[in-house]
Assembly symmetry: C2
Homo-oligomer: 463 residues x 2
């Protein structure tokens, strides 16, 4: 008898009904009289559990009747229809083999636990309904992203994690070293001799793979990264983590509009894919985590995303009559309150804001004809604010060199980035999507710590 | 007129022949008389280039005739058959628009360059034939791995990169810190006060996600990781890098045999997928990089992998009469020479060696009945040696606690790992596959530095 996944019982019900089957799993609930009992078994392959009925005829009836929650068992029996019951089918057990009896101190008893408490037991929380669903959706969404890009022949590039350069000239970084901190090598001047370090120079954890991805856009045309990135900012907010995953597509022979078109199609593809491949999980989120979830996601699927220039957006905000905490005028960076007002009140759907003042954007973003704005765009979505940031990249060598200088950066540090413009420059564009932000958006979970298996934040590196 | 990818010209030839089309790309070669000329254009979407014919009738004939290699152009013209020519089709240009004229100092001229030299220009080498192929195959292989696991409903888990614990109690690690090395915070005793560091304790880059993956196997049953891992060993070999990607599947309710079956199916799936989706690249590798490649890969596809216990393997080696540099006897770890002898000479196909002496394997591997060996297995493949390592995991709390003690490890450091055995233990098994080793195996490339976009090795963190 082959051991079948509980997922299969739900997905291939008709083929299996009436058959003798074997499953393995963990006890979610158990109640028993002295004649018979019911067990809800979950094996982790599926969001839902399966009901098992057992009777006193089974050999170890008494032992099984008293098993604590989370004990692991192997069950043989018949898979049958149950007319009129809450569950349309169940297993009538003929054998229940105890694999591992759980300790009665198992912390995830039936009562509800706070998300804060569950973070402290990150080794057990994936067994709870909420996190079983979150991490299955995370996996399916990751695959959807790969599928979206691969089906269009984008090349997946693993950009380096340890880096000798600071991509954006900003953002606090984690230092990576093999030097003995208790006995740091010093040079003749008494300064730390980084030549003695593993890489012979100062190295840090990457904040973005974009500049490296540009290399590959200019060789393989359409590429994307999907990997971990790091920020050492000491910020304790529900939206920031020190370690998170980013998707950074980069396209050659492409302008700002191509980024917007690609990003809009990608977001819709991922939502559709997750809705289709995790309907039980999504139903759960819509019912118990975020009651407006389906409405919000369906609205995204059925809308053409709005597109508005920064200049127009500022005019809209100024004329809105809305009292903002941070006053808005041309030249200032938009705050979350402005972003949410635009996407929620003005558009009621996702909106790309384009062509920001050059002063508030990074040096590599392409200068527009007006000399004041750059071909950058952020995607704002209801309920969240900024979900994606990106731009057309400055491909003109002379303009790029000037921008590097104006930004107080060191031209020599960007020698290879500049050479990309020397040997067959082309227009190209790309964007960055924070994967955890996307998962929060897809699930309605409101804290980034609850969509990362083992979150890293100031003071937290457990597990 | 829509801009089409050159890939499309090769893959959807029949639909496009005879049509007016537009492409963009970089000039790979150009030769012109004063009447007409030929350009090989590559746009990075496909391994092969497309030939463009242009005549003096085009507006900027003289300028185009003299363009340096690697200049970027946009071409409009008719896509036509070319009877009898080396290439079965070409584009007859009506317009050629210069996008970016390359500098004549472009280092990748037609002559052959050494792989060592190309590593120094990692920002340009993806444009060469070899690296165009390597990195497209790497991308396709990565997707094949996701596809293999996702189609069996394995859950993709992102285990942490920054970690407060050392998984295997071995392996040199990179320290991660935000402390100012020039002004390290000290405590009352004059020692470095790690409480002042970002995470409030010493943290490092992960060497393996396995222990974390086990958490998810015991909640989601079948899971896998696919992410970067790090080793700070100062080793300069063609097979070692400080930063590399690993795939670590982990399955609950599974024994050693289940790992072997899964790994064998996975390797075959990936080879098949890459052969099917990158035939031009694989043909190139077989012809120019490793003449035995197809034979080797087909042999893998058509073989049932061998399975032999360590004890039997040692007997075979002892009786072989072969002179080994390192003598072999029961209890010693197998060296690459032994591994290659077994897989190449004895089996002539991949072989799993199982049940190694406990002394030479990690503490978490499951003790066998004999009390001397553990349920571990390495997969050895011809031409490479070890490709995969894995084991059934020790699920028995008392045995695991004893092993932790015997290995001189600190029980408290493994509190959550031990608790997994307390709350519904099950047999489970998993393995680790070094992604770069797999790419080397798939392409015949012999240096790990040539299958990583931007390799990190001692002294090298450029780009």
């Amino acid at each position: 008898m082959e051991n079948v996944l509980i997922r299969k019982l739900y997905r291939e019900t008709d083929e299996l009904l009436g058959k003798d089957i074997e499953i393995s799993g963990w006890i979610k609930t158990l109640r028993a009289s002295n004649k018979f009992g019911f067990i809800e078994i979950n094996d982790g392959s599926f969001f839902k559990s399966i009901q098992v009925v057992f009777e006193e005829s089974i050999e170890n009836f008494k032992e099984i009747s008293k098993l604590p929650i989370s004990s692991s068992v192997q069950i043989k029996g018949k898979f049958v229809k149950t007319d009129g019951a809450k569950q349309p089918f169940e297993i009538q057990a003929t054998d229940i083999i105890l694999i591992g009896k759980s300790d009665a101190s198992y912390p995830l008893q039936k009562k509800r636990h706070s998300l804060e408490y569950l973070r402290e037991i990150a080794h057990l929380r994936p067994r709870s309904n909420t996190f079983s669903a979150v991490f299955r959706v995370r996996s399916i969404a990751a695959y959807a992203i790969h599928k979206f890009f691969q089906e269009q022949d984008f090349v997946y590039v693993n950009t380096p994690i340890i880096t000798g350069s600071d991509c954006e000239g900003a953002g606090e970084m984690f230092r990576v070293t093999t030097m003995d901190l208790n006995n740091l090598p010093k040079n003749d001047e008494g300064k730390i001799d980084v030549k003695e370090d593993f890489f012979g120079k100062e190295t840090n954890l990457t904040v973005s793979g974009q500049l490296n991805a540009e290399i590959f856009a200019l060789s393989h045309r359409n590429v994307y990264t999907f990997g971990p990135t790091f920020r050492a900012e000491n910020s304790n907010t529900p939206r920031h983590a020190a370690e998170f995953w980013m998707i950074e597509p980069e396209m050659a022979f492409a302008e700002l509009k191509d980024y917007l078109d690609n990003a809009e199609a990608m977001i819709k593809f991922v939502i559709n894919y997750v809705m289709e491949h995790a309907p039980e999980e999504m139903e759960f989120f819509n019912q118990f985590v975020d009651k407006g979830l389906f409405q919000r996601l369906n609205n995204v699927l059925n809308s053409d995303f709005g597109r508005v220039t920064y200049t127009e957006a500022v005019e809209i905000l100024e004329k809105s009559g809305e009292k903002f905490e941070y006053p808005v005028k041309w030249g200032v960076d938009l705050q979350t309150e402005h972003e949410r007002y635009l996407t929620e009140k003005v558009y009621g759907k996702p909106v790309f804001v384009t062509d920001y003042p050059k002063e508030i954007k990074a040096f590599y973003m392409r200068m527009n004809e007006d000399g004041k704005t750059v071909a950058a765009s952020d995607l704002l979505v209801p309920g969240v604010g900024e979900l994606i940031g990106g731009s057309q990249r400055e491909e003109r060598l002379d303009v790029l060199e000037r921008k590097i200088q104006e930004n107080g950066l060191n031209k020599e540090d960007y020698w290879w980035y500049l050479e990309l413009r020397k040997f067959g420059e082309t227009k190209h564009a790309g964007y960055g999507l924070g994967f955890e932000r996307l998962i929060m958006y897809l699930t309605g979970m409101s804290n980034i710590r609850d969509v990362i298996p083992f979150p890293r934040t100031p003071g937290n590196s457990e597990f």
